[in-house]
């Protein structure tokens, strides 16, 4: 039986589907335009095409794409039907595209899931149309201040979206003080670290959100995982981290390739390294548990999680192991550098800095990244590229890296030649958003990457 749907919605879906077909075949990509077409015809189309799905929204400044991917894989492994927008098209029209692309006129949806990554400022457009099962917020770091301004502005944008959906369960990072004690009606559960990952309990002077959001007193920490995340409390007003429903209870091993931890009472080796990926996995675990998915599926999925789209993605270029890491703000960049620091053997690194809108047009943020910690690593070649290569070179020089090892290349072609003849076999490529996208496109055109999206 054909579902009840009006003519306007029908035309909207058809027009958009045709556009999807055309953009996929002709432009090889392009994920927001079809959604724009659909919205032009029927501005309420999202509520129609998303009917029948249990929706999980993933937002926050860092870790959205990887977390979305992890949740998607867990649900899929458990045998349920699930869709996602995992190419990072996380604005309203891109999300509409995802639903329309998966829309079938003659099917009834039962136990279908949609795991949707959404930009912080776009949450409210989504919750205006539908009521998600779960909204999760990963963290809030200083991010592209030329667009959104401050972490508090970002938080209030997310809250505007949450307010429209009071029946949604919130799964929040408890170690993120900005997400504590929110003034919302929603059922809220928290996840975080119950065990320390290092000996640090003094917050870095340059971290975000160090002052109590209620009384402006500096927080104290029982332990800090990275930046301002950790087991915090306010010594003045008593505001402290919420009780954790889901937690990292043990850390067995941290290597450049994986992390072995205990999630509540489940031992898992997460196949992507770095503290930030432990958070991403913990978030995915928490959501899976809220959805009553069995531990065996979660474990199997997290242990075989392959990297997504420029997030520690490993590419073979003439027998060089090239690992691309997207870096977009100081907190994320510092985490990427920590991953580099886990290497005991020598390696090379490339630093790609762009200043397009999606990267942030103000590149001053690189001065908030602690490149100084690279000073004592075994790096033989320091490749530098991107629109703002020379600004990056100045930053690395002041950080104390050896300028004799600097190789500045303006084109991808020359950069790739340098990679091929680099002294070490392992090369990290740290790239801002458009640098990552464009370099992947180049590597795709040269046959080094099979799937562009």
């Amino acid at each position: 039986m054909v579902k009840k749907i009006n003519i306007k919605a029908l035309i909207s879906i058809l027009a958009s589907k045709i556009t999807i077909f055309l953009t996929k075949t002709l432009l090889k990509g392009g994920t927001t335009f079809p959604g724009k077409v659909a919205l032009k015809i029927d501005k309420n189309i999202l509520s129609k095409v998303s009917k029948g799905y249990k929706i999980i929204l993933v937002t926050g400044t860092n870790g959205k794409t990887t977390t979305t991917n992890m949740i998607y894989n867990i649900i899929k492994t458990s045998g349920k039907k699930v869709i996602t927008n995992n190419t990072g098209a996380n604005l309203f029209p891109g999300i509409v595209t995802t639903f329309i692309d998966n829309y079938k006129f003659f099917s009834k949806k039962k136990d279908y899931y949609a795991v949707i990554e959404v930009d912080e400022a776009n949450v409210k457009y989504i919750t205006a149309c539908l009521s998600p099962e779960i909204i999760t917020v990963t963290n809030l770091f200083r991010d592209q201040l030329d667009r959104y301004g401050e972490v508090y502005t970002t938080l209030s944008k997310i809250l505007e979206g949450i307010e429209l959906s009071p029946d949604t369960t919130l799964v929040l990072n408890g170690d993120e003080s900005l997400l504590g004690k929110l003034d919302v009606k929603n059922n809220t559960v928290y996840y975080g670290f119950n065990t320390k990952i290092n000996e640090n309990n003094i917050i870095d002077i340059n971290a975000d959100a160090k002052f109590c959001k209620f009384c402006k007193t500096p927080y104290k920490y029982n332990h800090i995982t990275y930046n301002h995340l950790g087991d915090f409390y306010c010594p003045n007003c008593g505001f402290k981290r919420a009780d954790l429903k889901y937690a990292i209870n043990k850390i067995y091993d941290l290597s450049p390739d994986s992390s072995s931890v205990r999630l509540n009472d489940l031992d898992v080796t997460i196949s992507q390294s770095g503290t930030y990926n432990i958070y991403n996995a913990l978030c995915a675990y928490s959501i899976a548990k809220e959805l009553n998915i069995n531990d065996e599926y979660i474990k199997k999925s997290l242990e075989n999680q392959s990297s997504s789209f420029g997030r520690q993605e490993t590419i073979n270029i003439e027998n060089k192991e090239v690992r691309i890491i997207l870096v977009k703000n100081p907190a994320g960049y510092n985490q990427a550098l920590d991953t580099l620091c886990l290497n005991k053997a020598s390696f090379d690194a490339a630093f790609l800095l762009n200043d397009n809108y999606a990267d942030g047009t103000d590149i001053s943020w690189i001065w908030d990244v602690d490149f100084e910690k690279l000073k004592n690593l075994n790096m033989d070649a320091i490749l530098i590229s991107g629109i703002r290569a020379y600004d990056m070179a100045v930053r690395l020089k002041i950080a104390g890296l050896k300028t004799d090892n600097f190789i500045i290349e303006e084109t991808f072609e020359k950069l790739t030649e340098r990679l091929k003849t680099s002294p070490n076999n392992k090369i990290y490529v740290l790239a801002t958003y458009t640098a990552m996208i464009n370099y992947r496109k180049y590597l795709h055109s040269q046959g080094y990457i099979k799937n562009l999206w």
Partner: protein, 240 residues
């Protein structure tokens, strides 16, 4: 020789890579064999102005800036005024720049008293001035490149500017001037102030050392190829 650089509220006023300016000053001084001590001065700390040679006053987010403004008036105002009038080197950026004036209007429309050390004031604007900036300083015959991001319009009442805008908005988008100079207090909206302007960094170091050791100091040249190349790339790109 030795230099003490003081970072005002490094834990509160630390957006837009302000810390970079201090790292650059330190690097350039140490290259000349000058020992550098970084002093952090935050909430409740008295300013020990006799032991400070360069003072750095950056910008913050609204939440943090509200914590700063009350502490500034209660624990640091008098010393800060003395420091400025004694012709010592102060670098004030964005929020720090605004706070030195008579008042500024916050984004929510609230009029907030500044320290009133400088005869300047800042009005709120509807739009933000965001983008790369090039300015030219006639007295020094130097061109500086940076990035501005502010909604405040600052009016400087005839104080010398840091430079005339070649590209970008500057203090208020009207008079085509950027920043201001009073004695050895340098104010600006430039983020990454010193990364592409090593000549300005050296100017600060020279003034501070000459002040401290009461003699003409001239710094030996160091390799600035990368810095000037970074500047040249931006000037070329913006002049297109």
């Amino acid at each position: 020789m030795e230099l003490n650089i003081c970072h005002l509220y490094p834990d509160l006023l630390n957006v837009y890579g302000d810390l970079g300016n201090i790292l650059i000053l330190k690097y350039r001084a140490e290259k000349r064999g000058i020992k550098v001590n970084i002093i952090n001065s935050s909430i409740n700390d008295k300013l020990d102005i006799d032991n400070i040679d360069i003072l750095f006053f950056g910008g913050g987010q609204d939440f943090e800036q509200s914590i700063v403004s009350s502490d500034l008036n209660t624990t640091k105002k008098e010393d800060l005024i003395k420091y400025i009038e004694n012709e010592k080197v102060l670098i004030a950026i964005c929020g720090g720049y605004q706070l030195l004036g008579k008042y500024y209007t916050a984004p929510n429309g609230e009029k907030i008293d500044g320290l009133g050390v400088l005869d300047i004031y800042t009005e709120g604007g509807d739009t933000r001035f965001i983008g790369d900036t090039i300015i030219y300083n006639e007295d020094f015959d130097e061109t500086y490149v940076g990035f501005e991001n502010h909604s405040g319009r600052t009016y400087t009442n005839g104080l010398k500017p840091l430079g005339k805008c070649i590209y970008g908005y500057g203090n208020n988008g009207e008079d085509k001037y950027e920043g201001c100079i009073y004695k050895n207090t340098y104010c600006t909206y430039f983020h990454s102030l010193l990364s592409k302007n090593p000549e300005l960094a050296d100017r600060f170091l020279t003034i501070a050392l000459s002040n401290k050791y009461r003699e003409e100091i001239s710094l030996e040249n160091i390799d600035d190829t990368i810095e000037y190349k970074a500047k040249e790339v931006m000037i070329k790109r913006l002049s297109k």
